[in-house]
């Protein structure tokens, strides 16, 4: 979508490079670890090597006596002053363990912090941390979430009396009738593996207390400075308006930094307690063990179908492995799976039962896609299984179950209203880009030549632009501010906290077009609660849809005020004044034009303002979304599996994503590319592994295989545009789409490749060893 002002093509809709990138690629951006404050101390955490243990005694004297050490603190010395880590979700039967900043008398997972050493240098702190001597008494460990629900299982939290944290169910339509009248019922058990988000920059923070003002500043590598400013004061005993939270440059989050962590709270407390700035930088091994993990759901899924491939009902019981504690959104993630579990299909009846289970592992929480990748994977795998069972073309089964474009807004059995969609359109375009008939012919010829060649399709829908406040624990609105400076330059302030999403560019594009100013004149500020007074931050692909809309409201308010000012200065009525190309003039007069420089000068110098006219040219706004948005698309993947090694080669990848109107197609493409790379990791390589003793075995990149450049194929990317009716920009969001749509396309392709061997389903990741074994097994049969 391009807007035009006169003959000139606007910025919106143009593939523009990000204004953020030069500082990033030149290495001159400022991350938390770049901060150096006078007198700054350094914290290092002592962490439990046991998955479950009684902490019998902690000897800190040797550490305290070590050179440069300022203090050593255990749970007994800080937990009473720090409050508990917050969780924003709740269910009627939710059982929550007390989540203190340091372990009390028990450690619940490998990596659980039990003490913190503060010293003058990070090296002194690390050396002294080795001198902290903790006596542990190992306790029985809970690692398997299904066995954890059996009678007689050891308990993760003995005081809760059960490992079941909560139960949740979702029902829509008449599920029993759907299964009663089904021609076939297809069942499959599926495990959605645990993943480690692994942003390139691990976590880290610097807390600094100003005793004169009584104010605390926390710089932290986070997606949510505003939510931290809301949640942290109650924990550490400071007023909300005496806390400033700053997210400087953030090197990736993917949901892992959508949390208030113990380390942030404790460094804040210690900065106040010690009267000196305290810095903590997470190491990679700490990040793998003590930053949230994602996914980890296992379930038995059943779908009722008619013999022509229409899906009548979907039923499942899902066990969600929560780890040992509730982080900010831990229990909410599987409920998001439930909401979109029917995918892009008209499924009239659904029942989903979720049990959240405590185990002696790191907490799971939002990881790129957060609940939707799980849903999309299971419904897209099931559709392929349905097609195989009925002898139908998987693409045709999808088509038969799509709602038609004229059925939107479409109400799902899960209680959502899909805002807009044309699923058939995206599928058709993806097939065109993939040269579908040629691709199918290629499969035939490759198979004839003995190759294991497969094609996988995923037609996904997801849920973005989070969200209506009634559905969001902390409110789902967003705040923005636009100010025409006295010089005529434009400052945009956003309550979202972009960390790779590129809103310094896209918001400037939106504002430049609407104000008719050069984009170079616009600066977009974010990530500092003393600059962006309010905000709900960045997650759930919400930035452009929700805050972009707040910014549009700001611009509209400024235009309205500027029109009144221009009218007064031009001796006209406001309705006689027109705005074009960044200037106001009396309609049809061909006379004097007032641009932003003149108007800003008048508005701030304020010598010629009409009586009662408020000086200044600034507006702020809160935008409340009336609904979520529901982006969708089709991904097509073709793979060849090496018979001798089990290696998967992606020979073709086509993605057509519909995220509504596109502000900047280059950034949309970037988001989709990164998302598909995440999916390649999940589909083919990655899995977070704990052994039966609860020991984490995937603690660094040697053991946790992220995809590498050589694993990423050339993508063919396309889009369709179905604007959303629920925000003024008509945008939907695209930050997670690739991660949601791609995993099942890849999995379906690999399963299709193995179909001739009689293999119907394998759980992720489809790593070479697993495929090699399946191929060997297949040959034997």
């Amino acid at each position: 979508m391009s807007t035009t002002t006169g003959e000139k093509i606007g910025y919106v809709g143009r593939a523009m490079k990000r204004v953020e990138d030069p500082r990033l690629v030149k290495g001159i951006a400022t991350y938390v670890d770049d901060l150096r404050l006078p007198g700054m101390l350094h914290a290092v955490f002592v962490r439990s090597p046991h998955a479950h243990a009684r902490v019998k005694r902690i000897r800190t004297d040797a550490a305290r006596a070590a050179g440069g050490v300022v203090g050593v603190f255990t749970g007994a010395e800080v937990n009473a002053q720090c409050g508990t880590i917050p969780c924003a979700s709740s269910f009627p039967d939710l059982k929550s363990p007390k989540h203190t900043v340091l372990a009390g008398d028990r450690a619940y997972f490998v990596g659980h912090p039990v003490a913190v050493v503060v010293a003058a240098t990070p090296y002194a702190a690390a050396d002294a941390a080795e001198l902290v001597d903790v006596d542990y008494e190992p306790l029985p460990v809970v690692t398997d979430p299904e066995k954890a629900l059996e009678a007689g299982s050891p308990l993760t939290h003995p005081d809760l009396g059960t490992n079941a944290a909560f139960t949740w169910n979702l029902t829509g339509g008449d599920i029993d009738a759907a299964f009663a009248k089904a021609d076939r019922v297809i069942r499959q058990r599926m495990y959605h593996q645990r993943l480690t988000p692994m942003p390139i920059e691990p976590r880290g923070c610097v807390a600094s207390y100003q005793p004169g003002e009584g104010t605390l500043t926390l710089w932290t590598s986070t997606q949510i400075p505003h939510l931290i400013r809301t949640l942290l004061p109650g924990m550490i005993g400071i007023a909300e308006n005496k806390l400033r939270v700053v997210a400087p440059e953030v090197g990736g989050g993917f949901g892992a930094k959508l949390n208030l962590y113990a380390e942030e709270a404790l460094c804040s407390h210690l900065a106040m307690r010690l009267g000196a700035p305290v810095k903590w930088i997470e190491g990679r091994r700490e990040n793998a063990a003590a930053t949230i993990h994602g996914r980890d759901q296992v379930g038995d899924y059943e779908v009722a179908v008619s013999k022509d491939g229409r899906i009548l009902g979907l039923r499942n019981r899902t066990i969600a492995d929560l780890g040992s504690y509730l982080q900010l959104l831990t229990p909410a993630i599987p409920t998001l799976t439930g909401l979109v579990v029917t995918g892009a299909y008209k499924i009239p009846a659904v029942r989903m039962d979720v049990v959240g289970v405590y185990t002696n592992k790191m907490s799971t929480d939002a990881y790129r896609g957060a609940g939707r990748p799980e849903a999309t994977y299971l419904i897209e795998r099931l559709v392929d299984l349905v097609a195989a069972e009925l002898g139908l073309d998987p693409v045709e089964v999808r088509r038969r179950n799509f709602p038609a474009p004229e059925e939107f807004p479409f109400n799902t059995a899960t209680g959502l209203t899909f805002d807009s969609g044309n699923y058939e359109g995206a599928l058709r375009k993806a097939q065109q880009l993939a040269r579908w008939d040629e691709l199918v012919a290629r499969r035939t010829s490759r198979r004839r030549a003995g190759a294991l060649f497969g094609i996988g399709v995923s037609t996904y829908v997801e849920i973005c632009a989070m969200g209506p406040s009634k559905a969001m624990a902390a409110g789902g609105w967003e705040w923005g501010c636009v100010r025409i400076e006295i010089s005529g330059k434009v400052t945009v302030i956003t309550g979202v906290t972009p960390h790779g999403q590129g809103q310094e560019t896209t918001f400037a594009q939106i504002v430049a077009d609407r104000l008719g100013v050069p984009i170079e004149d616009i600066v977009v500020l974010h990530g500092d609660t003393s600059v962006a007074h309010y905000g709900r931050d960045t997650y759930g692909s919400r930035g452009t849809a929700v805050c972009g809309s707040a910014i549009v409201m700001c611009v509209d308010r400024i235009l309205e005020k500027a029109r009144r000012l221009a009218a007064a200065l031009l001796d006209a009525r406001p309705e006689q004044v027109e705005f074009a190309d960044g200037a106001f003039a009396v309609k049809g007069s061909g006379g004097k034009r007032l641009g932003w420089t003149e108007l800003a000068g008048e508005a701030y110098i304020a010598k010629n303002l009409p009586r009662g006219f408020e000086p200044g040219l600034e507006a702020s706004a809160f935008f409340e979304p009336e609904n979520f948005t529901f982006p969708f698309g089709t991904h097509i993947c073709a793979v060849e599996v090496n018979r001798d090694t089990g290696d998967v080669t992606i020979v073709q990848y086509v993605a057509v994503d519909d995220c509504g109107n596109q502000i900047n197609p280059l950034l949309v493409e970037g988001q989709v590319q990164g998302g598909i790379a995440h999916s390649i990791g999940q589909a083919l390589f990655e899995r977070t592994v704990y052994d039966e003793h609860g020991q984490l075995l995937t603690g660094e990149f040697m053991d946790y295989p992220m995809p590498r450049a050589e694993d990423i194929p050339d993508y063919v990317l396309g889009s369709t545009v179905t604007p959303s009716p629920v925000n003024p920009l008509g945008v939907k969001g695209v930050g997670e789409a690739g991660t949601i749509g791609a995993t099942p396309a890849i999995a379906n392709a690999v399963m299709d490749a193995l179909r001739p061997l009689g293999v119907t389903h394998l759980d992720l990741p489809l790593a070479p060893e697993k495929l090699w074994r399946a191929i060997r097994q297949g040959h034997k049969e």
Binding site: A51, A289, L696, D703
Partner: protein, 149 residues
Amino acid sequence: MKLTGTYRCPAPRARVYAALIDPVVLQRCIEGAEQLVRTAGDEYDVRMRIGIGAVKGVFSGTVRLADMQAPEAFTLHVEGKGAPGFVSGSARIRLDDAEPGTAITCDADGQVGGVLAAVGSRLVDAAGRRMMDRFFERLGREFDPPTTS
């Protein structure tokens, strides 16, 4: 982690048994053992430097001898902890006459935890095997050159 192995030692069973429960000999034979001090009858405090792949560190702990049936067999219980995590395990050691020396069979079961497991798990078995091989190689050298009575 389970490890088993059989080694030969060019000395009679009684002498090998005596060496295996002698802290001075043990400290010489255990690679990385910096200190081995008897604290009670069959219990020793031990300080060892262990490296598995990129993970290196000093472990301190205890070694306890149990189920001693001189000169046929005994069990070794080891507990150690350090900055990179912990190790714990036990080994049943059997000695059999194998003219002209002794055959030693070692049947060990161990566990590692913390960073040691997180980043070294692929290497733990190999590292354990290597430590065991080195131990018996050094033990053999204690009796080298072969003694003549």
